[in-house]
Symmetry: C2
Subunit: 400 residues, 2 copies
Amino acid sequence: MTKRSVIKFGGTSVGDFSKIKNIASYLATRVEKVEELVVVVSAMGKTTDELLKNVDMLSKEPDQHDLALLLTTGEQQTISYISIALKALGINTKAMTGFQAGIKTKGNYMKSKILEVDNNVFEKAFESNNVVVVAGFQGMNEAGELTTLGRGGSDTTAVAIASSLGTPCEIYTDVAGVYGTDPRLYSAKRLDVVSFEEMMEMSALGAGVLETRSVEIAKNYNVPIYLGQTLSNERGTWIMPQEDILEQKAVTGVALDKDMHYVTFSYPKNDATLLKQLFTQLEKEEINIDMISQIVNTEGLQISFTMKDTDTLELKHIFDTLYQEFAELNYVVKSEYVKVSVIGSGMRDMSGVASKVFMTLLENDIEFYQVTTSEISISYVVDKANGVLAVGKLCAVFGL
Amino acid sequence: MTKRSVIKFGGTSVGDFSKIKNIASYLATRVEKVEELVVVVSAMGKTTDELLKNVDMLSKEPDQHDLALLLTTGEQQTISYISIALKALGINTKAMTGFQAGIKTKGNYMKSKILEVDNNVFEKAFESNNVVVVAGFQGMNEAGELTTLGRGGSDTTAVAIASSLGTPCEIYTDVAGVYGTDPRLYSAKRLDVVSFEEMMEMSALGAGVLETRSVEIAKNYNVPIYLGQTLSNERGTWIMPQEDILEQKAVTGVALDKDMHYVTFSYPKNDATLLKQLFTQLEKEEINIDMISQIVNTEGLQISFTMKDTDTLELKHIFDTLYQEFAELNYVVKSEYVKVSVIGSGMRDMSGVASKVFMTLLENDIEFYQVTTSEISISYVVDKANGVLAVGKLCAVFGL
């Protein structure tokens, strides 16, 4: 029986035309081994950034629908090129944009979520093709408008298709798998295997190898992910269910989330209407905040939270609107912060991780401003200048 | 009542971001005059050429479907940019790709024809928008695949939408209307008005201001076209029904069709099967040939015709296939020819045009190899080297 696989290549892997040719040759060897492939690709190299830079010349606040319409052209070009390169090698291919592949989305144009994938599209395409090349990162909403899944969304596309077809998902990038921390920060070891939960924490906390949402879908539908280096023979990392992993470590990774904003927000009285409006607006604009802490005392209400600096514009809108109704509102957004997190599924069973982290920061004179814990992680907000130092010291302490 | 107009801008007119901004400002002034606009745009400047150059690196014979998929990204980017620039001026816009605008096509991917335009899409969009920005040159076929109308097809998109909405169609390019001949060849006068028939002949014969098919649709649906220079106050040319034009001239234009191939094809006997196969194949590949002349004598069959050099590859295929069955087939393709044509609706009523053309060529020692006439035109194949000379002499003789 013909084996089926879903393979995803990131933007750097398809960054120029000789890379595209090499990927086509590699895919041809897979087809020779009687495999049917769905190949999901991102926009070439810096295409998305360049398109956004062009927009800067036209508008400071471009419409999300127009932006999605613009950005989807990036992957559409890549699928055409990959398909052309594969056909030049005699492979039967069918190239499809997200909407042609039946990828239906909902929500905010630029941060849409996949609602469903139409299986039949692939079954039909495989009747006369060995490779179906699909544009990652994009889909179509119910109004027939083109949408994007947000940056990194090509991983989500690949995992969603793999789950729909019942195959594993191979994701190739320029790093050879998952490391205990970002190799650019500290030369930690590569992990052979990591659980969905750990990977999700690592992604959410800024380890950045895979988008959180793609791991979430993989976890929910039990799709094993193989993360490897493009066109390399080096062994990568399998991301799989926790119960399938035999040897568990207390700590598997240390993540650094750069470019955090630290927002402090105060109001002279504890007003529930204000809080309700704030959180409703944050949800509406799909701004992810975390590490929330709230204090109510005689001086009123004080909330602080962290957020990525990408949503600054939307946040300003929200505060401007609230300000009209609540004139005594006071808020400060401070940048130059990072979040350092220690992650490990084994953490819940093994004691002492929290105190070890605490002592390490203390011994190295690394000040911290806020702490949060989850079942399998501990995160600290520290000054940007101390981020890399903290990661190195923690990796060393936990033997990564 | 709100006036509605369809306005088309070519690739040079949207060639950079400052041009896009200027066009947006111009459109805003039109919207202020309570106009609802459909704006049809091409890919920016040399985008299409650049995309095709990239393909050269991957394949010598790229698949037409993949090419169409690639090229449609060009206009999709332009509509996003125009829409973003218009919104920055406070105009409500809706940007649509060809398929989103309900443009259904049939036929060869890269040379598709518009089957129908969905009026309802525009009615719905105008409920909450003043400007609908549509990607020209593209549509979707019945299989749900993206198609292109062939180069210059954005004019066709604009005219088809204008016909569907019952409005005139304004087409803006970098030349201010229709001239008696290409202004780069001879400084002929600009025409205030020209008939559909004359314009069709001029386009078909290489005057190149508008694609023949767009004028054909305009003629069939009685859509007056205004052809003007982008963002200029200079008066352009109206293209309209013959009967609406009061003063008719014997000759309105001289056209030069460059880069013609002159194909001669011989076979030792008059074989109907061969001819049938040849013409069936030419039709299948949608190769336009013209100026056909055929001779049958004791030496067998001889056919010669002219064609554009863009279809050389397809022609070679056809002859290679025929050659397998008809081994005595002989064919020669000569390049370095041009076609000079004299056009005028009044020609059918006024005698002497043909002899005047003939004498002009003779007096200037311009050799010619083939002649064809239609009701409103006469065309001569001459050496490429004599093309511009012939145009200049003929313009002078007919007072253009």
